[in-house]
């Protein structure tokens, strides 16, 4: 039994420190996933915590049929989508922020002086993040899982519980939409 499986087993039997170990293994990944989904650190923290509360509450129902990482990402995806549906905030806030040139300038001037190249690079990444956050949830989740967190097509299919063909087409369309959005923003 590997270390993670041992923690899962112990946590299922009520071992709080084992659950804390599981949290420490996944907290940063899930927080970053939520951050890319929302483009807001505040929302990301709140959502990531909600994910771990759900994990804690449902740990006994985790049978080990799928990988634990897949299971926890599925909870994260569902939690983010639920939030999106509830307030439709994930898209609008992110896009407004990304398109607001002043906000980029404020962020840039408030930092220490940077070489011009660095400034341009930083601005480009800021816009890229805004474009990702502006995609619809099904698209941004595949971009995050595939291109940021390097999950395979098969793992993404398991997380989202959709056929492999759907994952392929979603990744393809999501990347195309991201290219279009970025091109439009940089023009």
């Amino acid at each position: 039994m590997n270390e993670e499986a041992l923690f899962i087993e112990k946590a299922r039997n009520g071992d709080v420190s084992a659950f804390e170990k599981l949290v420490s293994l996944y907290a940063k990944k899930i927080y970053n996933y939520c951050y890319r989904m929302t483009d807001s650190r505040e929302d990301a923290e709140d959502l990531a915590q909600e994910v771990f509360i759900k994990v804690y509450q449902n740990l006994k129902s985790f049978k080990g049929d799928s990988k634990f990482s897949t299971w926890i990402y599925r909870i994260a995806y569902n939690t983010c989508v639920d939030r999106y549906r509830k307030n439709r905030k994930l898209d609008t806030v992110s896009l407004n922020y990304g398109k607001d040139e002043d906000s980029v300038k404020i962020e840039l001037v408030s930092n220490d002086p940077l070489p011009e190249e660095e400034v341009i690079k930083k601005e480009r990444y800021r816009k890229l993040q805004a474009c990702i956050a502006g995609l619809k949830p099904e698209y941004k989740t595949v971009i995050i899982l595939r291109d940021i967190q390097n999950y395979t097509y098969a793992e993404i299919a398991e997380i989202l519980q959709v056929p492999l063909g759907t994952v392929k087409s979603h990744i393809s369309r999501a990347r195309a939409a991201l290219c279009d959005a970025l091109r439009e923003m940089l023009e």
């Binding site: 907290a27 923290e45 915590q49 509360i53 509450q57 291109d147 393809s172 990347r175």
Partner: protein, 269 residues
């Protein structure tokens, strides 16, 4: 292979998801088609850029805040479970109340001299009757029978010792008279107390968290009160100590035989 098909295949091509034949066809097409070549280069660059996005650090107090939320969740879950089992709990309350009525009836009869028990009979009664009820009966008859004050004090001291050890079950409270309960200080004696607070932040949730730390179960909760199930004197003492830290505790209950305590939060001006 036409442009539309090629553009659909660019993404899996970047990920190495195309079979060798298809990949070869796509490569042949983009060599001769500048638009598709540009599209491929653009998508490759974007994928590379996305992959280079920096990972954000977790907020410093992430673990602490999660811990707090988990504790609150555990408590809420417990209330939910308690409410599910409410009907069976009520059944036990009914049985306890019936037992209390019987005990009181026996006391009234012995006070009125309608029932006389000789010291010898007392011993027999004690061995024959259920233990809780016999203790109550013997203690009460001893008081009424004019045994010396030293006996009464010794009995109270014995009782207090039992209480202090925390090994007294809820049913044994039925044997304790309200006068005896009021004598001992430093714990909650009746079924209802008022907690006079000046801090508006103190609410039933605050009390719930503190109660759970002492293994005290929550029975019910309203906007300004909480009902807890206390099964030992230790829990009554612990609860009293916690309440004293939050405000002024005032006993307002009249039932000294209940195994639940309702704490009503009263904000002082």
């Amino acid at each position: 292979m036409d442009c539309r098909v090629v553009q659909e295949l660019i993404s899996p091509y970047i990920d190495g998801e195309l079979d060798r034949e298809r990949a070869r066809q796509l490569e042949a097409h983009v060599e001769s088609c500048s638009e598709c070549r540009q599209r491929l280069e653009e998508m490759k660059a974007v994928v590379q850029m996305v992959g280079a996005l920096e990972e954000k650090e977790l907020p410093d107090d992430f673990a602490d805040r999660l811990q707090t939320r988990l504790e609150a969740e555990q408590v809420t879950g417990m209330i939910h479970r308690k409410r599910v089992g409410f009907s069976s709990w009520m059944k036990w309350v009914g049985m306890a109340a019936a037992a209390a009525v019987i005990v009181l009836a026996i006391r009234v009869l012995s006070l009125n001299g309608l029932m006389y028990t000789s010291p010898q009979e007392k011993g027999r009664t004690e061995s024959a009757a259920p233990e809780n009820m016999s203790k109550s009966f013997v203690a009460d008859s001893r008081d009424e029978g004019g045994t010396g004050p030293s006996d009464t004090q010794a009995d109270a001291a014995d009782k207090q010792q039992e209480l202090d050890r925390g090994d007294v079950g809820a049913s044994e409270y039925t044997s304790e008279t309200s006068e005896q309960a009021q004598e001992a200080d430093g714990y909650i004696k009746s079924d209802k107390v008022e907690l006079m607070v000046q801090d508006v932040c103190i609410n039933p949730q605050t009390l719930m968290i503190r109660a759970v730390q002492h293994g005290i179960d929550v029975v019910d909760q309203t906007q300004d009160s909480i009902t807890l199930k206390v099964t030992s004197i230790e829990q009554r003492k612990a609860l009293y100590r916690e309440l004293e830290l939050l405000g002024v505790v005032k006993e307002v209950g009249t039932n000294f035989e209940s195994d639940t305590v309702t704490i009503v939060i009263v904000e002082q001006e």
